[in-house]
């Protein structure tokens, strides 16, 4: 066999320099000038995600984010869409658990006009009742559609079953049908008035800008923004507990969507880096244990993976695969077997190096686009991560050793506590699952 070619010497790469300042009204301003780019990306973040809702209004954060792009006091929905799109960009506005984000990417020459429109939308939105009703209807329809899609149904069901009843994370950040149904445009107006304010907001601009003129533009458009938003609530995740199987019946399914997992880590967990490496080794790259075993050796699935979903509070750790109905029980056994295995012994140096080298080496590739760079600043703004996060990132990955992987696997992977959520044809799956002794089986209807 001929050995692989020897690599040349690497060219050093650093995450782009950026500046940070806070305006008098509290707005954080992050500027990443990239003079050799044609495009500019603006991400405006506010602490107005689902963690800022109360449960009675679950879904109002997401609906409000969507409602923002339906116009301003000056421009109605049609005129706002027309004006921005003629400039060559569409504004995206969405929310997650920990923040709401309005953003766009445009040619650098459109920066001033684009920023003006984005700020107009944020500060003086139309929040029209007709558009609210339309979007609410679309959201309810989308929930309906999601429950017919086995993958989306599995994701949603997993959250509902893995968290205890009182934990907000037991739902999608976009809400539940019952809560969305009750929302009104007044709720949205109140949410906007309360949670969109400079003291909880950050603007990130990356790309074809100069720092001076971009800062001047931000001060011009946002320097006189006033208001003071309250803190988001504190979420305290608790697991429903115990190893068990929940089988969501979807008659006629030719595959079973598997979601196996439990609670994981939060954004500030000191084990963040070893956990990242461990999850990649177990199910984060093509050559990971789960994918190699379930796909490349057994042919049970098109792909198997796992990951943590760290948030301000503890989010789930989740392994997933869509497997042929006939092999469902065996696939679960194999998947659990890999969770056991990673706890039992450290990986070899060779196996660890492959994954670690990937995570370290792929670093520049993550920041090819202006949008990718702006997104990379987001956790610094939202989670108050240190500003040298990306400067020290690769070093922290390189420091992870085989014993670290073994230790965090022992602490963070808990097959005996895992929820095994299956979306599939219960009539075909139930007998085998009940005799498999993998845990008590509960069958529930979809939705």
């Amino acid at each position: 066999m001929i050995a692989r070619p020897i690599a040349g010497s690497p060219r050093p790469y650093q995450f782009p320099d950026f500046s940070y300042q806070r305006l008098d009204n509290g707005l954080g301003v992050w500027l990443v000038p990239l003079p050799d780019r044609e495009l500019v990306s603006i991400h405006l973040l506010t602490d107005a995600g689902a963690a800022s809702e109360d449960e009675a209004h679950a879904g109002i954060g997401d609906l409000t984010a969507q409602l923002l792009v339906t116009g301003t006091q000056r421009l109605d929905a049609s005129a706002f869409a027309e004006t921005t799109e003629r400039l060559g960009f569409a504004v995206a506005s969405e929310s997650s658990w920990d923040s709401a984000r309005a953003s766009f990417t445009a040619l650098g020459s459109k920066l001033d006009e684009g920023l003006a429109l984005l700020v107009e939308m944020l500060r003086t939105p139309r929040l029209d009742s007709g558009e609210f009703d339309r979007l609410k209807g679309e959201r309810l329809n989308d929930i309906l559609q999601a429950r017919a899609d086995p993958g989306r149904l599995a994701d949603e069901s997993f959250l509902r079953e893995v968290f205890a009843d009182e934990v907000p994370y037991g739902r999608l950040s976009a809400g539940r049908p019952e809560s969305v149904e009750a929302l009104t445009v007044e709720d949205s107006r109140a949410f906007h008035a309360t949670h969109y304010a400079p003291n909880v907001a950050d603007i990130i601009i990356s790309g074809a800008i100069s720092s001076d003129s971009a800062l001047a533009a931000v001060e011009r458009h946002l320097g006189d923004w006033t208001g003071h938003a309250p803190e988001h609530r504190t979420i305290e995740p608790v697991q429903r507990g115990g190893r068990r199987i929940v089988l969501v019946d979807r008659p006629g399914s030719v595959q079973s969507e598997l979601r196996v997992g439990h609670l994981g880590i939060d954004r500030h967990d000191p084990r963040y880096f070893p956990a990242l490496v461990m999850a990649a080794l177990l199910g984060g790259v093509f050559g990971s244990r789960l994918n190699v075993r379930l796909r490349e050796e057994l042919g049970y699935t098109y792909g198997a993976r796992c990951s943590f979903d760290p948030r301000r509070a503890v989010g789930p750790f989740l392994a997933s695969a869509a497997v042929q109905t006939e092999v469902t029980t065996d696939a679960i056994r194999e998947l659990l077997g890999q969770l056991d295995r990673i706890r039992e012994a450290p990986p070899t140096e060779v196996e660890l190096a492959e994954v670690r080298d990937f995570l370290v080496g792929v670093f520049p590739l993550r920041f090819e686009t202006t949008g990718g760079i702006a997104s990379a600043i987001e956790p610094l703004a939202v989670y108050d991560q240190p500003h040298d996060w990306w400067q020290t990132y690769r070093g922290k990955l390189e420091a992870v050793g085989t014993e670290d992987v073994h230790r965090v696997a022992g602490e963070l992977v808990q097959p005996d506590e895992a929820l095994i959520l299956v979306v599939g044809d219960a009539s075909a799956l139930r007998p085998a699952l009940e005799t498999a002794e993998l845990g008590p089986v509960e069958v529930v209807a979809a939705g």
Binding site: M1, I2, R4, P5, I6, A7, G8, P10, R11, Y13, D36, R37, E38, L39, A77, A81, E82, E85, R86, G88, F89, A90, A106, L107, E131, R134, G137, E138, N141, D142, L144, Q145, R147, A148, D149, P150, R250, V254, Q255, V285, F286, G287, E296, E297, L298, G299, Y300, Y302, A322, Q324, D357, F358, V360, G361, V362, P364, L365, E368, T369, G371
Partner: protein
């Protein structure tokens, strides 16, 4: 807009090489298009081009099963491959100093795949691909639409009549002999385009390419391209209703149109964006926002070159809206655009959206390399990457209107209506 630099070379064995240097980031993209796709499949062998693509990751003379992935990833790279109607592409993006690794891996499987092939590997990847089909088609709401649409838009003997994923029966029948024959026929340097984009030194890269790919023999008996001839119009309206596990009905409309690369295709590409791109698009504004008949609307053209391409759209009905009402409202918008043509505002909007979108796509060297390979493989003209914007800008109202009138007519339209299974007659 900044021009993408292009340098062309052809090796003695016929391999077409495109280089596009850009040292801004220490990254390099390697991209290979093989001029073979599902349109080249023989009867009874549907899905084989794609199954074969999977076999290309199962090792070659000097590479173990799975090692292609692990070597590139350990080098800090990303990689994948895909198969479609006209072609199969393989691509890696990795740190610039690992360029030779990607070239070596691609050359090793182009030169010597077969010694690594076994029945066990074929059986394994057949199972994987069947699960890919279950996941993307059979177990997915509306998942069968493109397979059904191709079967109805193209006549039975046409190479686009069948889907790239293929049928379960044909996948079951695929043999190791098929792998050998397919490889010997299509996986030759004179049936491929190799693009390298990003951070490299030209002389060094060319020497590496020559070293690794130069010794691979061409196939001097490449089969002639398949006969893609097809009438420009379907000839009569075609309709089908499909009961499925879906909560909301959805209507798919498709028409046979002139192939990718023609002026008419460009005009219909522009028309698709006027109808479907963004919140100011005709269908979104009218059906979703104003009339509230649809939950969503999507419009696109297939960039395929054989005989005829496809213009397709879908609209999902809001609860309580009949499919008849939604269909006629959708056609009213299409017909209005065809009859009156776009406004200056429509054209300005889609041109500016397209220019920014293109600039965004070309920020990624992997995408740049893929488009260079595409234009070379399909048209022998990589320079088209630099005229994409001007071809769009050259489309005027009259061309949009004429192209729509010529193609989007009732006797050239397939209508597929997905309805909730329990509500079906």
């Amino acid at each position: 807009m900044a021009q993408v630099p292009i340098q062309r070379h052809v090796l003695d064995n016929g391999l077409r090489v495109v280089l596009s240097r850009d040292p801004r980031a220490p990254l390099v993209a390697v991209n290979l298009w093989y001029d073979v796709g599902s349109k080249h499949e023989k009867p009874g062998k549907t899905g084989f081009a794609h199954l074969f693509e999977h076999m290309m990751f199962q090792g070659s003379a000097n590479v173990e099963k799975g090692q292609h992935f692990s070597l590139v990833q350990a080098a800090g790279g990303t990689l994948n491959a895909s198969t479609w109607l006209d072609r199969t592409n393989y691509f890696e993006t990795l740190p610039g100093h690992e360029l030779e690794l990607a070239l070596w891996l691609e050359a090793d499987r182009m030169a010597s795949l077969l010694p690594a092939m076994t029945q066990e590997k074929l059986d394994n990847q057949r199972d994987v691909v069947k699960n890919e089909r279950r996941w993307s088609v059979d177990n997915q709401p509306y998942g069968s639409w493109d397979e059904k649409m191709q079967a109805l838009v193209y006549p039975e003997a046409h190479p686009y009549h069948h889907s790239t994923i293929g049928s379960m029966e044909d996948l079951s029948a695929a043999s190791l002999e098929d792998v050998g024959e397919f490889f010997a026929t299509w996986y030759a340097p004179n049936n491929a385009v190799l693009t390298v984009a990003g951070d490299f030194e030209t002389d060094e890269a060319l020497a590496m390419i020559e070293h690794h790919f130069g010794p691979i023999p061409p196939n001097d008996a490449l089969p002639p391209p398949p006969d893609m001839t097809v009438d420009p119009l379907i000839g009569a309206p075609v309709r089908e209703t499909i009961p499925d596990q879906v909560p909301l009905p959805r209507i798919y409309l498709a028409s046979r149109i002139p192939p990718f690369g023609t002026d008419e295709f460009d005009a219909l590409d522009v028309a698709a964006d006027i109808l479907g791109a963004g919140r100011a698009s005709r269908l979104y504004a009218s059906l979703v926002r104003e009339q509230r008949l649809a939950q969503d609307a999507s419009v696109f053209v297939f960039p395929i070159v054989g005989g005829a391409s496809m213009f397709a759209l879908w609209v999902t009905a809001r609860p309580g809206v009949s499919t008849e009402t939604l269909e006629s409202a959708t056609l009213a918008e299409v017909d209005r655009l065809a009859a009156d043509g776009p406004t200056e505002g429509d054209l300005e909007r889609v041109n500016n959206l397209h220019a920014a979108h293109l600039a965004g796509a070309l920020e990624r060297i992997g995408e740049r390399a893929d488009r260079l390979s595409m234009y070379t493989c399909l048209f022998d003209e990589p320079e088209r990457i630099n005229t994409e914007s001007s071809r769009w800008a050259a489309v005027d109202a009259r061309r949009v209107s004429e192209a729509l009138q010529a193609s989007l007519r009732p006797d050239n339209r397939v209508t597929l209506t997905y309805v909730p299974a329990e509500a079906a007659p």
